[in-house]
Amino acid sequence: MTPIRGSGMMSRIFLCALILAGVATLSATRATAQGRRAGPPRVFVPIKGDLWRAGNGNWWSLVYVTPEGILLVDPISADFARWMKSEFASRFPGKVVRYIIYSHSHWDHVGGAAVFADSHPHIVGQERILKNMDGRYPHMPGNMIDLNHDGSIESDEIAIPTLEHPGICGMGRGYFESIDHDHTGHITPAQWWAAQEVVPPDIVYSDRMTLVFGGRTIQLIFPGLNHADDGTVVYFPMERVVFSADFPADALVTTSMRSLPSGCGMFDQHPLSEWIRSYKTIEGLDFDILAQGHGSVTFTKADVSEGRQYFEDLRAGVVLGMAQGKSLAELKKTLLLEKYQDWAYYDMLREVDIEAAYLNLENYP
């Protein structure tokens, strides 16, 4: 028997979808009445210079238009990729996608790369993505893990995190079944990726990589382990813009980064020290604008620093409590993190984060 004690992220995807769906429904209803598509709002927004954001609800890609073609970070999904491809054709005639960079391997950000196969783009990512996509059980968000260590993805492995933290971890009812067309209750990782039309990278790097494309320099940086184990921070020094996805802004972030992080799987099975290192890596870059895979606005370095401070305060509070011999239950009652009581999801996630940090520190002291 395996107690699932972790808490917080993929069904942040569910919860965020829920929030956005509520907002989107009215406009979608109007759109349908006018003969247009229903679904999350899709927008194309300039950032600076030749950098754009393309949004599918609260999921965002980044687009860099150069004289030699387009560099795209995160296609998100096949349907959205098809929409973007159409937008590219009308907005940037004659330019095709030459590079696709993956912010990390989670399917809700990298789905749909196959849509651009006709322009034969190079697909670039951190080297751990290859392992995550090689047929073994991948690192998944939301505490979705291989509970029985058999290498296949099973329906209860997707649902159990949901049952423990509905709206926060796991995926909503029916998601697994939407992929398990044969109703076997088992999906191989290969089937999982194929269903999302994901293509593995053909270029990978370890810690840092500089890409020169269209006369521009783009830096790819592995920040450390955080929400994912194969994340890339994409840095555009000429524009002083940085892009990453799910870290620091997770799927619940919309207009403010003052939002408590979920702690699914005791913070995605990665040491708190790695999370803090990841924040510091971004803070160490010289930039003005932080564009994220989630959030309808862009952010700044100060937002990153606040997020890092939250993790440091959380870790310090839990470490102190553990040193004082406090139980987890006592810590949940006494560690109030008052400084963050105005942040989004404070009521909901404070105890979840304390538990996640407590278990994290037990496992990664």
Partner: protein, 122 residues
Amino acid sequence: MRPLLGMVLLAIVAMLPAASIAADELPPPAPSVAAIKACVKQMDIGDKWSFTWRLVEIGAARHPRNSYEALYSPAVEARAKMYGYPVHVMYNVNGRADIDATYWLIRDASGHWQIPAICTIR
């Protein structure tokens, strides 16, 4: 994500007329323990899982405690203020996981009880 989002959209569409349910209105009696257990089992679409129940404790009706609970009623102000029942559950699934959680039980636009992200009692 589209299948999930589609489901969510359907759920939201179903909830939209909820303005007819008054805010801050004490709800009718909660569904039975058996109904709640059956609701949770709806997650087992393939009807292949085992559930070993240890506790289903329905709390007193109350206002949504925080933004998390209110978020289950997006875009409908009245529902965001509507009372519901917290339900403390403890059970095991498939011998793999001990669940100890508090679910939020609210009604949809049709008056059906639901545990958001998990199930609806029809």
